[in-house]
Amino acid sequence: MSTATRDSGVVQVRGEVIAIRRAGAYHHLTIVAPGVAELARPGQFAALAVGGPTTGNLLRRSFSIHKVSPSGTYGGTLDLVIAAKGAGTEWLTALRAHDTVDVVAPLGRPFPLPTEAVPTVLVGGGYGSAPLFWLADVLRERGCTVEMVLGAASEDRLFGVVEARRAADRVTVTTDDGSAGQRGWVSDVLPEVFRRTGAPVAYACGPMGMLQSVTRVAAEHGAVAQVAVEESMACGVGVCMTCVMPVRGKDGVTAMVRSCVEGPVFRGDRIRWEAFHDGVCGVPEDAVGAPKVGGH
């Protein structure tokens, strides 16, 4: 079933859905996907083909890996949390047990882990919390303390509040409408969390606006934010150049880098947030190879 893929850290496999259940506004899928669990690290993602043999939707859909388990009754499994929003996610969330789906995983760079046992803050927006519980487990194994902040528009759009209580040392919940936890945004509660924990590092996954404010608040408290971004991706494997964003390298030089292979996790302070505006992102003038005035 699984395609042996040249010891390259990624497999392509015809997965079998073994469980699919609602979780608030989302669907939680468990897929038998041999080979993925052994390779995956928190923060990486999976790219799924959608629509079946007659489909007109050719592009893969990407999802953060929620968790993996190397063995089990059915072989290694992969868990994803999917919000139905368009043709592809509607097809995926309508799958039934024993249906098959083509999976390429794991993809992208995982969250970098601290070398020492430090306090950490994990921030998830909506389904963005999906990869954080597994990350929390790994961090706690390394002796880090984990404080989690989960935010969403409304209660049904929160994911994993119960699991958070198990995985983290402390959990704060916010919703825009106050239907659960504190009314407001995660950025409202974050300053207090950083103050309290003195965490030198925050991990975040969620909408771009949230990632930007986590980065800002972290910086204000001397912390580094590691953020998992979500940019439109056509291939997910690094060959199409659609998923780029302006990121400053270690050398201080900005380039349009592929978020599927050099991300999806970036240091928040390296992302050129000012280039993003209402769903569109421009090329900063100082980026490598940026169009010259009057040029291309």
Partner: protein, 320 residues
């Protein structure tokens, strides 16, 4: 009985007719995680220009019915970085490389070709694909390949830079009234072959925000949705060559190939080799899978050599 899959393109013999398509396979490392890129007939690199280019802002893509739009804006490292890093890597894994080049001006195309020819790893290059489907800065951004004169000029200048025995393919756009006249101009100016087709100019509007979905407003349409246009273009140019309107040169077919059957369709229309583009985004092993499927299909047609199927449909018309 095994089919002989080898094909000869302007003097270079390739083990099989399947290639990647420029811009749909980066420069090899990423796909090499999924299959050995040296097993393909040739690996076609992302179009490279003189200088590094950032490409356009985002969004750069929109999914369309059986296809997609892209507006990458020819992002790339520039030819110097390409010959320093990408080409040697491709050579190291044993790939045969068809290098796609472009320029903002006809002169820039030639300069890029010169750097390529002078590079250390040039011996893994089995040809140069001249992507004339890009905007001509000197002519209000009109795409070179929309104009026979501009196309001819680029081809002639690049030809001067390439050793005689290096195949040179002109890559044509379908967005023209008469693709045969562009093909004619390219061949007369020294192209030893033609690659058809590049993307169609298209556009998607985001109906929630009521604005163009791509940062670059328009983009290139690719994928199975455009295959009938590719087949037609290959057919027309092949028919023109068979009528003796200009020198017969090999064609490389590209546009919407997802399966071996699709590849055979392009071959039967006139292509000697076939590139797999957008389908790679659906399935990273697509080029290799297409090759396997094509081989089985050729076998089922009972031919000894795949080359027997090139343009075969021109001889099989039923006129009732």
């Amino acid at each position: 009985m095994a089919v002989d899959l080898s094909v000869t393109l302007s003097g270079r013999t390739l083990p099989n007719p399947v290639m990647t398509a420029s811009g749909c396979a980066a420069n090899g490392r990423e796909l090499h995680r999924f299959f050995d890129v040296s097993t393909l007939g040739a690996f076609v690199t992302k179009t490279v220009m003189m200088d590094p280019r950032s490409g356009r802002g985002t969004p750069r893509m929109a999914e369309t019915s059986s296809g997609m739009l892209n507006s990458i804006g020819l992002q790339g490292p520039g030819i110097h970085a390409f010959v320093a890093k990408d080409l040697p890597w491709l050579k190291s894994v044993g790939a045969r490389v068809l290098v796609s080049i472009a320029g903002n001006t006809a002169g820039e195309f030639a300069d890029v070709a010169k750097v390529l020819v002078d590079s250390d790893a040039f011996d893994c290059v089995v040809g140069v694909e001249v992507n004339i489907s890009c905007p001509n800065v000197a002519n209000r951004g009109l795409v070179f390949a929309c104009d026979p004169l501009a196309s001819g000029k680029v081809i002639a200048l690049v030809r001067e830079q390439l050793p005689r025995d290096v195949p040179m393919f002109a890559k044509l756009t379908p967005d023209v009234t008469d693709i045969v006249s562009i093909a004619d101009a390219a061949v007369k100016s020294g192209a030893t072959g033609l690659t058809m087709i590049n993307t169609l100019l298209g556009m998607v509007i985001d109906t929630d925000r009521l604005r163009p979905q791509l940062g670059g407003i328009t983009g290139g349409l690719s994928g199975p949705s455009i295959r009938p246009v590719a087949v037609r273009a290959l057919w027309q140019v092949t028919a023109a060559m068979r009528e003796g309107r200009f020198l017969t040169v090999p064609l490389i077919g590209v546009g919407g190939v997802r399966t071996g059957r699709d590849a055979l369709e392009l071959i039967a229309a006139g292509a000697t080799a076939v590139q797999v583009g957008t389908a790679t985004f659906n399935d990273p092993t697509a080029p290799q899978r297409v090759l396997t499927e094509l081989e089985a299909l050729a076998e089922s047609h009972g031919v000894a050599r795949i080359s027997e199927l090139v343009a075969v449909a021109h001889d099989r018309m039923v006129i009732p």
